[in-house]
Amino acid sequence: MITPDALKKLDLASASELLEKREISSVGLCEAYLARTNEVDGNVKAFLNIDRENILSQAAESDKRRLEGKELSPYDGIPIAIKDCISVSGQPCTCASKILENFKSPYDSTVVKRLKEKGLVIFGRTNMDEFAMGSSCENSAYMKTANPWDLSRVPGGSSGGSAASVAASEVPVSLGSDTGGSIRQPAAFCGVTGLKPTYGRVSRYGLVAFASSLDQIGPIGHSVLDTAAILDIIGGHDPLDSTSLPEESGTFADAVRKSSGGNLKGVKIGIPKEYFNIDAIEPGVKAVMEESVNILQALGAETIEISLPHTEYAIAVYYIIATAEASANLARFDGIRYGVRPSDASDLNSLYFKMRGHGFGKEVKRRIILGTYVLSSGYYDAYYLRGQKVRTLIRNDFMNAFQKCDIIFAPATPSAAFKFGEKSDPLQMYLADIFTIAVNLAGTCAISLPAGIDKATSMPVGMQFIAPPLGEHKMLSVSKIFEENRGIKAFIPSL
């Protein structure tokens, strides 16, 4: 049996080692995590759904495989939490929305299928902002997830439950989805590592779409190595996702292991001047970023100033393109084929009004209306079409920058985790993603790593590495070296 203290230090790699050495069984591991969840999730509220029996039966299957020497991978038997917008056959998939209350998905998403093929135990569904629209988890229709570092603060969003569950050691690793920063921002707020892969690297089949041209599934874990290992499993071409890239996956963890103990000599790291001229950036974050740059330089990296001149348009462009796509993606929730149909609808229009009027929360409605507006005849050219043109300029900014540097260094967020209710103005909330949104518009990859602690709040602060499209190997290697050399080695809340 694993002690609660040992559990808090456990990650994917070390859990794998314990299982391989037969020091623990999958059932034992899952029971320890279930006990931890039982203890803390009443406060953290990371999980919308946990099926204890189902978890233990998956674990028992895994133990049987190991006993027979037929384990599917080194990670066979390790639990992973899944954001509630990623389909698992037979499990609820509410997207934290009332409109999908009681809905169960009839099929596995490609990522879940791949995790199961490697023997991982699907452990519960994590809370999120409704349909991944938000940056604090406050938009969940069911509950507010708290930040394990300070329960009066938000965990970030939209993958807040996925980040909090890992930070609170309720699971070693989880899956989130990132449309404008939804993996990286909550990872930064919760002091964990979040990877947003290159658009097309990971299949979106089975991810309930928010903004199809921006969405990407990615892992959240305690370490760079853990996220790389999960990317190895979930990445790679999928014929069911026409936008998935042909590139194979499977060598990321190796690249991370190889870079261990190394330095950054010969690596050119670009620092976008626009990101540090933003008023919203708080002194505590700025201090951690300066400290981080010093570490990078001490490791031998060459840091150069670069420019991403269209940064100021990123949020505006994002809220045109993402909402336009969302307005169509969310049209299917009409109560005709699934979902609980209101019993008092008198005709078709009243069914639509009642179903969607009651089923969707305020922020979701706001974005559907916005998206419908920007696509409407007479406005399309001025908003959507222009938005796409500016998106190209933003992408070009990055491509030009990568002519000059290998990796871009940036803060993950302008501030550490804020308090519940602190950002009641939607525009203020949108600004929380200012450093992450452009990466999705450019379609490239980025990772958010805990870099230090904000002196004013004692909350973790995250930094980002951004690499060119399909540049994950290099990005993860640089991240690993930074991780080994940052001021604080392990970020574990006292919870």
């Binding site: 389909s87 998905s105 089975g206 796509e325 169509a328 696509l375 959507y384």
Partner: protein
């Protein structure tokens, strides 16, 4: 002569015949139990993604090439948004500004549906695009049912230029279009099964004017005949309205086939804003010159070319060629049959005058016909080599039609082999002369041809129809002349 001329354009939807649906692997089949041919993708479940059916794209390109369309090298799919329960996602994956085929044409000529000669002209095709079909709604008292088997079936939309001027021209255009689709195996175009559906855009203007009148869209047209009738009705309705000073409104009208009238469905104020935007779940489609060339090689012979070949190569009349190319299955039957006979013209006659009549009477298709093309060809050879007479052939033919047996077998079983032996026939001739002295006198007095015909009939009767008619005539003339 009317003071007005009509301006007509058609939007035709044709289901593409493929193994699976447009964006998922469900079977594309008709007539199965409701909601049995469905999956999370075509039901629009949360999280699913479309994968475009390459075969449907290939067939659409071939359809375009057959209509002389340009194939742009770059195409894409778009989302077309509107709410209706028959649409699983409440948006349809369609094509907006970059369809697969542009600027084609279809030729019409010959006699129109109402018997008048058609102008010999091309009708322009604006575009052909590919999209997914919607589900089928059925309304019951107090409830509606939706069958999603049809949802996601590949559907081509073929939009014509407003270049037709009459119901006859529209009818001829549709007939040609259907023929092309069937010829290339792109669709069976069975309107009863909803495989081909047609909307009409129609306006009128004073003869010789160069600005079109306000157009009206006609929907719910379930047959070519309904298209023809609704256009005729609508032209006269619009003429009456204009004559009486009533303004034509841009609107969508339905067709009531029983009443023979169009009726208002919705006015322009209620028109949808479809909010098209590029489908982010599918990559744009690019073709190289080589791709397009390769598609070009897959184009089958078009009806028009086939008609010309039938006339030139087999000596058929233009009428024969026309009938035999009405359906590709007729032409295929004919071409298979001529492998087994040396007289294509005779084969054509038998197909047109006997086979098609029998098929129509028994409501069977030529593909399910009991007489194989090989057997019909063989039967014609039996006539050609004097094994059976043309008259006996009719008996053999109907036996073949019901039993499916080979003609040689039937002739053998029933002892229908023609008697060509002169001495055998001569005895029948002598008997006939002996028993009909009155007619012999008549023959002698005036050499009346009707009398000779009478004797031929008598001999055939005595021989049970098996005597070779030419030999009978020859011997009768000889024997009667020598009396």
């Amino acid at each position: 002569m009317s003071k007005y001329e009509a301006v007509i354009g058609l939007e035709v939807h044709v289901q593409v015949k493929t193994g699976s649906k447009m964006f998922c692997s469900c079977p594309n089949s008709y007539g199965e139990g409701p909601n049995t041919m469905v999956c999370p993708v075509c039901m629009g479940y949360p999280g699913v993604m479309p994968v475009a059916n390459k075969e449907a794209i290939r067939r659409t390109i071939i359809a375009g090439l057959m209509c002389s369309c340009e194939i742009p090298k770059y195409s894409k799919f778009d989302r077309k948004s509107y709410f209706y329960p028959d649409m699983p996602k409440n948006y349809q994956i369609s094509q907006y500004d970059l369809p697969f085929c542009l600027k084609g044409k279809i030729h019409i000529s010959g006699k129109g549906f109402s018997g008048n000669e058609l102008p010999n002209k091309d009708i322009g095709i604006t575009r052909i695009h590919l999209e997914e079909d919607v589900a089928k709604s059925t309304h019951f008292p107090g409830a509606s049912g939706i069958d999603f088997n049809r949802a996601g079936v590949p559907l081509m939309e073929i939009v014509s230029e407003p270049e037709m001027k009459s119901a006859d021209e529209a009818y001829a255009y549709l007939t040609s279009l259907k023929q092309i689709m069937q010829y290339a195996g792109i669709s069976d175009c069975d309107m009863e099964k909803g495989q081909m559906r047609c909307d009409v855009n129609i306006s009128i203007m004073p003869c010789g004017a160069d600005t079109f009148g306000t157009k009206v869209e006609l929907k719910n047209l379930n047959s070519f005949r309904a298209v023809h009738r609704s256009i005729e009705y609508e032209i006269s309705r619009q003429e009456d309205a204009v004559e009486n000073g009533i303004k034509i409104c841009q609107e969508t009208r339905g067709w009531n086939d029983d009443q023979g009238e169009t009726y208002l469905m919705r006015s322009k104020e209620n028109a949808h804003d479809y909010r098209y935007f590029p489908e982010p779940d599918l990559m744009p489609i690019e073709f190289t010159n080589e791709d397009i060339e390769k598609f070009g090689k897959e184009i089958p012979e078009l009806p028009e070319a086939k008609r010309e070949r039938f006339v030139a190569k087999f000596g058929l009349t233009p009428y024969d060629a026309h009938v035999l190319t009405l359906e590709k299955s007729y032409a295929d039957y004919f071409e298979e049959g001529i492998k087994h006979t040396n007289t294509p013209k005779l084969l054509a006659n038998w197909i047109i005058s006997e086979l098609l009549r029998e098929l129509a009477a028994s409501n069977t298709s030529i593909n399910e016909c009991g007489i194989s093309p090989k057997n019909l060809g063989a039967m014609i050879e039996l006539i050609n080599n004097d094994t059976i007479s043309g008259k006996i052939a009719k008996t053999v033919f109907s036996e073949m039609f019901t039993s499916g047996k080979a003609p040689e077998e039937i002739v053998e079983e029933k002892g229908l082999v023609q008697v060509t032996d002169e001495s055998a026939i001569e005895s029948f001739v002598e008997q006939a002369i002996r028993e009909n002295q009155t007619q012999v006198e008549q023959y002698k007095s005036g050499n009346n041809p009707k009398v000779l015909q009478f004797f031929v009939g008598q001999v055939m009767k005595l021989s049970k129809g098996k005597a070779n008619p030419q030999t009978v005539v020859k011997l009768l003339q000889k024997n009667l002349g020598s009396i």
